[in-house]
Amino acid sequence: MSNERRLRVKTLAVVLVMVVCANVGDLMLKRGMLQIGAVQISGSGVWRALLSTIHNGTIWLGILFLIGFTFCYMTAVSWADYSYVMPAGAFGYAIQTMLAVVILHEAVTRQRWVGVVLIVGGVLLVGQTRPSTTQTKVAGT
């Protein structure tokens, strides 16, 4: 496998894990907050909500996934261009729509499908460019 191809596969694999972590993390946070219920905007209400979030396993799982997202993002930009990783990460919006249709059987508007097609097309275009156009150093083992 050529160096550039190896770099592209490595970058896209890390970006894919990054997108999955971000989406699952968001989903877990949303589910956890639904379990807790609406937060009352008052001193005691916010305090109660804080205690509930600390004791909620789903929220901790969400936080773990979001830490995974941050780690993947930092790893990807350590060798790949920011202008390559950033738009590729938008692929998550397309995955969210697909999941909404396939799993939740939600109706999706034509406008949203146009958005998904534009995102997928844009990510494919960016994906065809060289992942790294600046000098990268290897931090050692």
Partner: protein, 126 residues
């Protein structure tokens, strides 16, 4: 209106500035030599001792909170395209601050993603 404009500018500066500072810091740290657990732990340790990474984190936090402040101030039809516009501003930052070579193909891809994200997020709010 001036208040919304200023907050939008603040949000875009913090968001793009934070991500560019993070990228600059991580380029200094360098890529991990392998994906073995011990190598990755050392890699995280090196990243956490980089000043640019620490400069980026509060900026990213500020961008998150400025977006939360913006949401009740301005209609979503303004806030969402503005946040998607980050892709374009970020690409300018990558080209002129990080010295990345942004080809026409990448520019077209970024603009398509920017418009696509706007459409998806706007319809998601309906």
């Amino acid at each position: 209106m001036i208040r919304v404009g200023l907050m939008l500018a603040f949000f875009i500066c913090c968001s793009t500035g934070g991500e560019i500072a993070m990228t600059y810091g991580m380029k200094q740290v360098g890529e991990p030599g392998s994906f073995r657990p011990l190598v990755l732990v050392k890699f995280i340790g090196r990243a956490m001792s980089n000043g640019w990474v620490w400069f980026a984190l509060p900026l990213l936090g500020a961008s998150f909170y400025s977006l939360l402040i913006l949401l009740p101030w301005a209609p979503l039809s303004v806030v969402i395209p503005a946040s998607a516009f980050n892709y374009v501003v970020g690409t300018f930052g990558a080209k002129y601050l990080l010295r990345e070579q942004v080809s026409i193909k990448r520019w077209v891809g970024v603009v398509m993603v920017c418009v696509g994200v706007t459409l998806v997020l706007l319809t998601g709010q309906n």
